[in-house]
């Protein structure tokens, strides 16, 4: 089986996902185009050299609808012969796009493929694509549908994470992200978003608050209490895990992932493709997997998919130098650390979505790139990237430097 190598990756800075965010004025199409064009330019890819572009978008409607991947590829100048496909596995879409791209290479059918994602949350809006899962009683009721935040609070309640625990984790995320920016650890991969005149709109992540402290977080009210109580989700949570008397609502805007706009992309290809275009492989895709997990708790899929991936790849915890788990909510990470007894110094070492934001469909591609940069910076070898997913799923990928 041919191997799939990572040749390059880029991402945009993450803009605050609100009308006052810097990237709000940038169309979803323009945003998705940025990393594609950067990959082409940085690697001097000739026109029509890419076999496919796979982009994750979670709410592919309105301006982000109708297979944005094809049009972003065209707009980026990749060439008329470069097709595109848009996929969604909710929050893991960006990582799945990388895996789908890798699979095309590993199957020997394509030579050079881009996997990535884009999400303009400020413009399209979270949940804009609707869907049966929360709405249709025949699905919502048996699947114990709850908003993710309530599931995150359920995880905290079930596994015993207090408000202090989740806040302390959030403070660490902010500090690590702040330090990473200060030391220029993201410089290699973040490409600014520019206007039609070449003027910079945003060059740096704008959601983070490195000065965050336990005291400042203590001021924030839990975000999901009211929604859970008025909307009946507290009852759903308890019925899904009846050993719980009542849900402990610990998550708020400061220890949950930020709503942001952003895009990222990873260039993958066979060994031959690298040679053909004069590119040096940086890492190989060792293994990847997907799994469905308990839908009520919803966000514990990373634990299940990691177990599956270890079993399938014959690898174990000690083979992994760095873990990168999307910080959807603090309890998600704390549960993962608890389940595998992971050294805190080996996971999300440059912060994560709590500090930097989670542009849904793009995040998976972004954090894969972030951890590859960190492997290189610290001269380590292997990393596992994973994300929790709506509806109870997990996606994970193991990469290894070459």
């Amino acid at each position: 089986m041919p191997e799939a190598f990572i040749y390059d990756h880029v991402r945009t800075p993450r803009g605050r996902g609100k009308p006052d965010g810097a990237l709000h004025e940038v169309t979803a199409l323009a945003l998705a185009t940025v990393p594609l064009k950067a990959l082409k330019d940085r690697n001097n890819l000739p026109e029509d050299s890419v076999d496919d572009v796979v982009l994750g978008v979670v709410d592919p409607v309105g301006e982000a609808g109708s297979d944005i991947a094809r049009f972003a590829a065209l707009k980026a100048g990749l060439g008329e012969a470069v097709p595109g496909v848009q996929i969604s596995r909710f929050c893991a879409s960006g990582l799945d796009a990388v895996n789908f791209a890798a699979a095309q290479v590993m199957s020997g059918q394509h030579e050079l493929v881009i996997g990535g994602g884009a999400e303009s949350m400020s413009r399209v809006g979270i949940g804009a694509s609707g869907g049966a899962w929360p709405m249709d009683p025949s699905m919502a009721v048996p699947a114990y549908f709850m908003p993710q935040g309530v599931s995150a609070d359920l995880i905290a309640t079930k596994y015993g994470f207090s408000r202090d625990d989740v806040d302390a984790y959030a403070v660490q995320s902010q500090q690590r992200a702040g330090k990473a920016w200060d030391e220029g650890r993201f410089n290699k991969s973040v490409v600014p978003v520019k206007d039609i005149n070449g003027l910079t709109i945003l060059a740096k992540d704008e959601h983070m608050r490195p000065s965050t402290t336990m005291q400042s977080l203590a001021q924030l009210q839990p975000s999901f209490t009211m929604m859970a109580q008025m909307g009946g989700f507290d009852g759903v949570a308890i019925q899904s895990h009846p050993e719980i008397e009542r849900v402990n609502y610990v998550h708020h805007a400061g220890n949950s992932s930020g709503i942001v706009d952003g895009a990222g992309a990873v260039l993958l290809g066979s060994k031959e493709a690298g040679a053909k275009y004069g590119m040096k492989p940086r890492a190989r895709i060792r293994a990847f997997a997907n799994i469905g997990s308990e839908p009520a708790m919803m966000l514990t899929g990373p634990v299940d998919v990691t177990e599956k991936l270890f079993a399938r790849s014959g690898m174990k915890k000690s083979d992994i130098d760095l873990f990168e788990l999307n910080e959807a909510f603090a309890s998600v990470v704390l549960r993962y650390i608890q389940a595998f007894d992971i050294d805190n110094a080996k996971i999300n070492v440059n912060g994560g979505a709590i500090a930097l934001g989670h542009p849904l469909g793009a995040t998976g591609a972004m954090i894969l790139g972030t951890v590859l940069d960190e492997l290189e910076r610290t001269n380590r070898s292997t990393a596992l990237v994973t994300l929790c997913i709506g509806g109870g799923m997990g996606t994970a990928t193991i990469i290894e430097r070459v």
Binding site: G127, P134, D136, P137, A140, G232, G235, E243, I244, E245
Partner: protein, 737 residues
């Protein structure tokens, strides 16, 4: 054309007045004849060029109280027959077509091209209300009481003749969901405010108002048949819809634990139907209706909560040769909480009440309770100040037993002590009219032995109320060995007068209800001792369909009382009658920890002061558990089953012991008395619908794991072997005859 159930008269303006008036019945109910005739009337009036429009009304006090649910029994029989002869698909097809017939007739009114106006003269419920919803205009007679609604969900059904489609096309989704899922009727004023009806007029002007609307050019098109129709809450997939449906689904689960297929079907009908044009939407509704009709929950709920309850209320168990009695005046001896409440409900029903206690002050206290209750009713708008005045005038508190001289029935509710009771009987006997029936409200002492202290055992009976009496609709009538027919008939007539539902049981420790519910509470304690997390015990019980968790219930009843009963049982029946570990637990709670339950704000739960938050499980509980089990290793379905099976198997024992002689009484009694999972139809229906054989197998499985409390009685083994059901073997009609 002449009709049996309707009268059709066309006036000089060409308006046909269709008057519903089923001969020989006090109320119009939707039956097969009415459906067929309505169909014919629509065809006739549509074809007749002379008819310009149609007004439909009723000659009875009510418009129509809904469908004749016994009709469904016939449909079920037909279904079973086709199923057997032609298979399931053919049977489902038949049921689909038959059960949607009425819906199609209503749709034909809506699309007849002639304007139809409903003149709603009174109560319009269920199918009756659905008839009016398909009319192009609805005018109702003034009335302060709740008159219009769709109560089907209460008996495990849902409005299957357009109700789930027309209501949310008229009113915003949240209001529509309340009407459909709660099933409570609304007043005509509320209906008007909600846009469910168009106008309210004095009763005398009703027909004229309906005709005037037609004469004024009333349009024969429903809003949803017009181009550009917009749903009142906007499209399903809109911002508003995304706020509404996910929360609606969650609240449905929170409130029903997903135990009620009809309620879930309502949610689906609204969600799916509102995305469709009306004809397709009605077809989808019919598909769900068919599926709900096929559910055992609907069959069980219709039988127990509608048919059996009605039969028991009408005196199914009353000895036929005793002439009707009418209690005008009763005495309640013992004006404590229970006695005062019995006095209140009796006075509320129009009876004169003598409230006797050992001194005037205690008797007055009992009357003060009645005053407090009626004042709360007034506050809630359920009574008028004049009602309070009349009610209080009917209650005479006294310490003088001479006041017993002209009462028709005595109910004693004195302290649960043989000696105290015997003294009360002796004192009362001196003053009673001959032939007065004497009842004891004891909940623990056997009636037969109590009766021995009364001079005429034939006139002695148990009338066991449940607390809180004002709310609890069940009354257990307990027959002692020598209780006579007149005593039984009088007790039944009295219970009927106060508007409660009676069950008649033979004497036994705990009678029927407390025997079963005692098992429920004990099972909670067993799980606690096994190491199941307390919250999981409580939640699984509620998920099984019980209204209150067993630990909560213990707290409500009071733990010291529970311990007292346990000790008494041990003293009377020997040490094997109780679990010593449970006793140890109760001794620890009551005697060492001073935790008595709700009454001292400390039991299994801690109770904060009123208004200062919710009760929460006492953190010290885990220290009283010998071990703690990991919840992820526990089988939730089995925990749920244990709660229901332990009660059902006890109910089966009461049948074997002849405490219960009619399965309807075990079913209705268990639902009304202690809230046994209503969707099962009650304790014995739970067994019947599971299948006796399967139930016995389940008992043996649980017996092997948890002990002899799950051992099925011989009777059940025998029934399982023969493939019998309770309703088959103890067919109620024969028992009632």
């Amino acid at each position: 054309m002449a009709y049996k159930n309707f009268k059709v008269e066309t006036d000089s303006d060409g308006i046909a007045l269709v008057t519903w008036d089923i001969p020989g019945r006090s109320m119009n109910v939707l039956d097969e004849t009415s459906t067929n005739e309505l169909d014919a009337i629509v065809k006739e009036t549509t074809a007749d060029a002379a008819v310009k429009g149609v007004v439909i009304t009723s000659a009875k006090e009510a418009f129509c109280a809904g469908a004749d649910l016994s009709m469904l029994e016939g449909m079920n029989l037909a279904y079973a027959k086709v199923f057997k002869e032609q298979g399931e698909t053919a049977a489902n097809q038949m049921l689909f077509e038959q059960s949607r017939r009425f819906s199609q007739v209503l749709r034909s009114i809506e699309t007849s091209g002639k304007p139809w106006a409903a003149a709603i003269n009174g109560l319009a419920l269920g199918g009756g209300f659905e008839i009016t919803l398909c009319c192009h205009y609805r005018v109702a007679a003034e009335n302060p009481k709740p008159r219009l609604g769709l109560p089907e969900v209460k008996v495990g059904l849902f409005p299957g003749a357009g109700g789930t489609q027309r209501v949310p096309r008229l009113v915003p989704p949240q209001d529509a969901m309340t009407i459909l899922l709660k099933g409570d009727p609304v007043t005509v004023d509320k209906a008007k405010a909600l846009n469910l009806i168009h106008a309210i007029v004095p009763a005398a002007d009703l027909i004229k108002a309906a005709k005037d609307w037609i004469k004024g050019g009333g349009k024969a098109v429903a809003p949803w048949d017009e181009k550009g129709f917009k749903l009142p809450g906007g499209p399903v997939f809109s911002k508003a819809g995304m706020m509404m449906f996910p929360a609606g689904n969650a609240i449905y689960r929170r409130e029903t634990y997903d135990n009620y297929p009809a309620a879930r079907a309502i949610m689906s009908c609204v969600y799916e139907g509102l995305q469709l044009p009306i004809d397709a939407a009605l077809r989808v509704e019919s598909r769900y209706f068919t599926s709900v009709l096929r559910s055992k929950e609907a069959a069980a709920m219709i039988r127990s909560l509608f048919l059996s309850m009605q039969e028991l209320n009408k005196g199914a168990r009353r000895p036929k040769d005793v002439p009707p009695t009418k209690v005008k005046k009763i005495a309640v001896i013992g004006a404590g909480f229970m006695g005062a409440s019995v006095g209140y409900v009796s006075a509320r029903a129009g009876l004169d009440v003598v409230l006797i206690d050992r001194d005037q002050e205690s008797a007055d206290k009992g009357k003060a309770h009645a005053q407090k209750v009626i004042e709360e009713q007034i506050k809630k708008g359920r009574a008028k100040p004049a009602d309070a005045e009349a009610l209080l005038a009917r209650i005479t508190p006294t310490a003088d037993y001479a006041a017993l001289k002209d009462v028709d029935l005595v109910i004693e509710a004195v302290f649960e002590d043989r000696k105290v009771k015997a003294e009360t009987f002796a004192k009362a006997q001196e003053h009673l009219k001959p032939d007065v029936i004497f009842a004891s409200n004891t909940s623990t002492l056997p009636i037969t032995s109590l009766a021995e202290s009364f001079k005429d055992q034939g006139k002695f009976v148990g009338i066991h109320f449940f607390s809180p009496v004002e709310k609890m609709m069940l009354v257990e009538i307990i027959l002692g060995k020598n209780t006579g027919d007149v005593a039984l008939a009088t007790a039944l007539d009295y219970v009927r007068q106060i508007g409660k539902t009676p069950i008649v049981v033979n004497d036994s420790r705990g009678f029927f209800a407390n025997r079963c519910v005692g098992r429920y509470v004990a099972e909670g304690n067993e799980m606690f001792l096994e190491g199941v997390p307390p919250a999981m015990i409580e939640n699984c019980a509620k998920m099984a369909g019980m209204p209150v968790g067993p630990l909560s219930l213990s707290d409500e009843v009071a733990l010291d009382l529970g311990l007292k009963i346990m000790k008494a049982t041990e003293a009377d029946l020997g040490p094997n009658a109780i679990n010593p570990d449970q006793k140890k637990l109760m001794v620890e709670m009551v005697e060492k920890q001073g935790r008595l339950g709700r009454k001292n704000s400390k039991g299994f739960y801690d109770y904060p002061e009123k208004g200062k938050g919710q009760k929460s499980l006492w953190p010290g509980l885990s220290a009283l558990q010998p071990k703690q089990l990991d919840p992820d290793t526990l089988d939730i379905e089995e925990l749920k089953q244990r709660f229901l099976v332990v009660q059902a198997v006890e109910a089966a024992r009461t049948v074997e012991d002849h405490v219960i002689t009619d399965p309807r009484e075990a079913d209705v009694g268990s639902i009304l008395g202690f809230g046994f999972a209503p969707f099962t139809g009650g304790t014995l229906s739970y067994i019947d619908f599971m299948g006796t054989k399967k139930f016995v197998e389940l008992c043996h499985k649980l017996e092997a794991k948890y002990g002899s409390r799950f051992t099925p009685p011989k009777l059940l083994e025998e029934m399982a072997a023969k493939g019998e059901t309770f309703y088959g073997r103890f067919a109620p009609k024969k028992a009632a005859a």
